[in-house]
Subunit: 437 residues, 2 copies
């Protein structure tokens, strides 16, 4: 029930599996372009995505922010379309056209009515395959990126997560912000951006993923037309970014004195990498510690003491590393009290087992969130596209559910003991002076 | 194709209409409790909501924030369940349990797998019908609300919309923030909150709405059980909040000097009320002016000049009033330039017709967004519940699409001329001193 070997012959199609909703099929085109689709005939929409295997962690320090900057520039025009023609085409059919850049990949997508799929394929593929990256467009977009950085800086609940990554990973590819910095954005030239595009947006680095009321063979035909001229050579699809030594961590405490109403706190440790078998147990632990309203942190900090409006824990996974973090926003004068409760709960989770009830509730939370999420074609497109890009195999939904079901109290205790006792990084933003310095 | 007369006999059920996805049915229970359902058998989830016809505009100045405060307190416990038991029940099945308070209504909802609907009905109905509002819970939640206010204050892109409402409507029920103020929250007593609950959460003020893979008769049975003991008397359902004179406006310019990276701007005018026939034409105008990436404001301010990351126009509708507004976040030194472009585009839209292409694109945008949105059971639940509460009739989806399709260039020009030439309110938050004062 896993993906066929990466050596699948170009031009051939394989049916990977079928589940409750439809069949997942995969085709490799010449040049190494992969297409993965999931047909869910009960819906009337389709989500079309193109994924590139490049993200901010691929950037040299001088290129910081280039992946995200390029993502913006790809909306500015192709040989066939202006920026207005790109957006007008999808707006005219009421579709969502958007993109996002992560540390390890970049995705461009459109969600449309099923009858508009040919349009979505044509527009998004054109953006990705034939962008012209005109110097004047790169210049205009520089201002947009700088304003995006300023907007992030104005929202401390957003900024804190970028600051935390730096506090945990230091000035390394995983530690630097996806947006880059004002200095790095100002220094990036059109040639550098265009070179980055030429280097990373080759067919073998791209994955097309499509979900909804679609037909695989029709998608293959549309994508082959849209990428015509690019699908040559015998390149194999790029292997997923897996394995290798764990990214180095250097956990520090960073306090940023800022004139805000709340103090924003993130306390965290290295988590598990994307392919780590312990990820399901960590998911259950996360649910019990801070994943919902019934979690320990929510109950202790918000429900019983009214100290925060927003308090939660979260995980992030990368190819060779991960994050387990706790966020809270509270009164500046309550930072010590809130931090003390967070630390107590983290320590308690590291040392003692969850209750049976917490275990079952955590599993139910992961299971329900997964199944409910799959009603959205965008989520399905995202699941299969990301899997193709970053995993060695696509786990069918039923297998994921079985892995969740198999988690035991011992599994959770083991991962909690291993992870939560590691040295932690801490970031605080707020009017706290150097009290924590 | 509209709702039956409000005088529908308690205990009877009416089928309102069927459309592509399923049937909309309505039942009125004794005490005036309404149940409206839409069965969409192609999905595996169900969204269950209870709507109360009370919101912040029903608050006297001394009660400012009471609707929202009460919404929080309803999660704190009933005669049968503690706060933890409420959240744990829904977390255990991986459902979403949440609520929101608006100016004219409040909604509590859970989205779950269809097999978990009985649980969702039981938990949400219990919260709404049997809340105990203990003094100690009201106290603890006061801190949470204050932190929610502080979090809003720390996000200028959020704060600006509350400040704009005050700049347009002044110190009136529509002009005051839903969250209340620190002072009003600190002054609200448990008795006041409890009294507010007793006054507004009567069966005749409530609407239950359910969408997904559900059976109407089963929902009626479950809701009747869950509300048992409350469904007595011969009260008629409360009439929707329609008609009456337009809410008074007093458009002002408000500049809030704040040490932020960006200047955040909202420029706006009174729009149309919820039942105004011009709302479809205004929707098309909004799409063309600032509703998407192909809109005039996005093209002029972001695409051509790179002056902003976030720029858009929006509409809000109330029973007797509405808002048409434009938002942009830009460098503090560019406020004059951005405002000047916004004003130029607003004036041009007021004086000249859209192009045929903009008209068609705007219609496509509204149509596609509506149809795509209805794939989500939560959106369907919201559409029928809100309609039952605030409109005199539920427009079937096909009728909405027909109303959009019927919009002409003349209709758009007429509403633009009437609305955009009115005196505007302006709010700016940023490090701009009194330059605009």
């Amino acid at each position: 029930m896993t993906l066929p070997a990466r050596a699948q012959e170009p031009g051939t199609t394989t049916t990977i599996h079928t589940d409750d909703a439809g069949a997942v099929r995969r085709t490799v085109l010449p040049g190494g372009l992969r297409i993965i689709t999931e047909a869910t005939p009960a819906v009337r929409s389709a989500a079309f995505g193109v994924w590139s295997a490049v993200g901010s962690r691929d950037e040299a320090p001088a290129d910081a922010g280039a992946s995200h900057y390029l993502e913006h520039v790809l909306f500015k025009g192709t040989r066939r379309r202006s920026a207005l023609e790109i957006s007008a085409a999808v707006d005219a059919v009421g579709g969502d056209l958007n993109a996002f850049t992560a540390k390890e990949y970049t995705c461009y997508y459109a969600r449309v009515l099923d009858s508009d799929l040919p349009l979505a394929v044509d527009v998004v593929s054109d953006m990705v395959a034939d962008s012209v990256n005109r110097p004047e467009d790169v210049e205009a977009e520089r201002g947009v990126i700088l304003e995006e950085i300023h907007m992030r800086d104005d929202d401390p609940g957003d900024l804190i997560h970028d600051e935390f990554a730096t506090a945990l990973y230091g000035d390394t590819p995983l530690g630097r912000p996806i947006l880059g910095t004002e200095d790095s954005i100002n220094a990036l030239s059109r040639d550098r951006i265009h070179g980055y595009y030429r280097e990373h947006y080759t067919p073998s680095n791209l994955v097309v993923s499509v979900a909804g009321n679609i037909d695989h063979d029709e998608v293959v035909r549309l994508v082959s037309e849209a990428f015509a001229g690019h699908l040559t050579g015998d390149a194999e699809p790029a292997p997923p970014r897996v394995g290798g030594p764990a990214a180095p961590v250097d956990p520090r405490t960073v306090v940023i004195d800022k004139d805000t109403e709340q103090a924003h706190i993130v306390l965290g440790v290295p988590g598990v990498c994307r392919t780590d078998d312990r990820r399901f147990a960590l998911g259950v632990l996360n649910a019990a510690l801070g994943g919902g309203m019934s979690s320990r942190l929510f109950q202790e900090i918000r429900e019983k003491r009214g100290l925060a409006y927003s308090v939660y824990s979260y995980t992030a996974q990368y190819a060779d590393s991960g994050i387990f973090g706790v966020y809270a926003g509270c009164q500046p004068g309550k930072v010590d009290e809130v931090l003390s409760i967070c630390r107590d709960e983290v320590n308690r989770a590291a040392e003692q087992s969850l209750t049976e009830e917490e275990l079952e509730r955590g599993k139910g939370q992961l299971r329900g969130a997964m199944v409910l999420g799959l009603e959205d074609t965008g989520s399905r497109m995202s699941r299969i596209g990301k899997s193709e890009l970053v995993y060695e195999s696509l786990l069918p939904v039923d297998d994921v559910l079985a892995r969740i079901e198999a988690v035991t109290l011992d599994d959770v205790r083991a991962v909690a003991g291993e992870i939560l006792s590691a040295p932690s990084a801490l970031t605080v933003i707020g009017p706290v002076g150097d009290r924590l310095g």
